[in-house]
Symmetry: C2
């Protein structure tokens, strides 16, 4: 994969199997977030290692559920422990967790994201991994939690970024080391256009 | 691992790091279902391959969220696609999914488990993977779904079975090829006793 700026294997999979609905919705549940192409996930783990192996991470942190499979392969190749933030079933979450509120456009509802205080601390240098980045709600909730813990965020690795939504640009402008394996610039009449540069 | 009847590495991890609360609750969120020891998960995937490589499975199916990490490593070593059943956010789930009701003792509430009809069929030979087996509620809901699809269940691989609860025995009596990497026979005063035989 060296020298390849974006992950062509993932782009081809999205192009060949993903289903673009209108200009905003991309269904990839045939290989990423319901059925899972494990060989592809394994390759994504290797690519995330290549992108982030020098960032000094001590822990990979993701969000349930669809981030988990990518995160554990990344963590395997980076030889790091992994942690997934949970989506709480209720708002009253107790004192032993850090929490943040978020909103899921997919499910059309608010939820509370939680991480046990036992498993994140100011000594952690965190590589965040998630399957999608669009508006950035989920990522921002996790950043809020990591900030409460005093942990340092040394990288953010995303499988598929919707480049036509504001989440990615906002995080880059804040200085985060955000790398996405595939960035979609637009979807129109079922045609998916990828960003070709390495930003 | 050949010749070892139970997965000693997992038993030692449970014994050294797991927290038994009373005679029923085992907390393993420090290495399995919140923070994840990825090296251990990878070894569990290899052990599941050893146990099930000759059962003719065409797909690994698990349940979100905690089953996913184990399932993808098992699927990697078995060179199979994986699929995770989702826990629906509402009861009205539509016609494009198989669904079954279940009850989570951990969360004290009912939920609806769903699998898209697109990703499971009568041609599938399924290896079920999950992190825990206790009363068997989640596993039975998934079996119900697979039965609706006409899929054949060729194996059930569980990380930690609570042998003092009825789920495992009931599944074995029904003839399922159930193998658990660790079976806990009892927990008392914080002491965890494992079953040593290979049933």
């Amino acid at each position: 994969m060296n020298g390849v700026k974006k992950m062509k294997l993932l782009e081809e999979k999205i192009q060949n199997e993903g289903i673009a609905i209108g200009s905003d919705i991309l269904k990839v549940d045939m290989f990423l977030n319901h059925q899972m192409d494990v060989e592809l996930l394994d390759e994504m783990g290797k690519e995330i290692k290549r992108l982030f192996e020098n960032c000094g991470a001590t822990k990979v942190v993701t969000i349930e559920s669809s981030g988990i499979a990518i995160a554990v392969f990344a963590a395997k190749y980076l030889a790091l422990p992994a942690l997934f933030a949970k989506k709480a079933k209720h708002k009253n979450v107790g004192d032993d967790v850090y929490s943040a509120h978020s909103y899921s456009f997919t499910h059309g509802k608010e939820y509370t994201m939680i991480v046990s205080k036992k498993y994140i601390s100011k000594d952690d240098k965190v590589l965040i991994i998630d399957d999608f980045l669009a508006g950035g709600n989920a990522c921002n909730a996790l950043l809020d939690i990591l900030n409460q813990a005093g942990a340092e965020v040394v990288g953010i690795g995303i499988a598929i970024e919707k480049g036509f939504q504001p989440g990615g640009q906002a995080l880059r402008e804040k200085g985060y080391n955000l790398r996405s394996l595939a960035i979609i610039d637009s979807m129109k009449d079922g045609k998916i256009t990828f960003r070709s540069d390495d930003c």
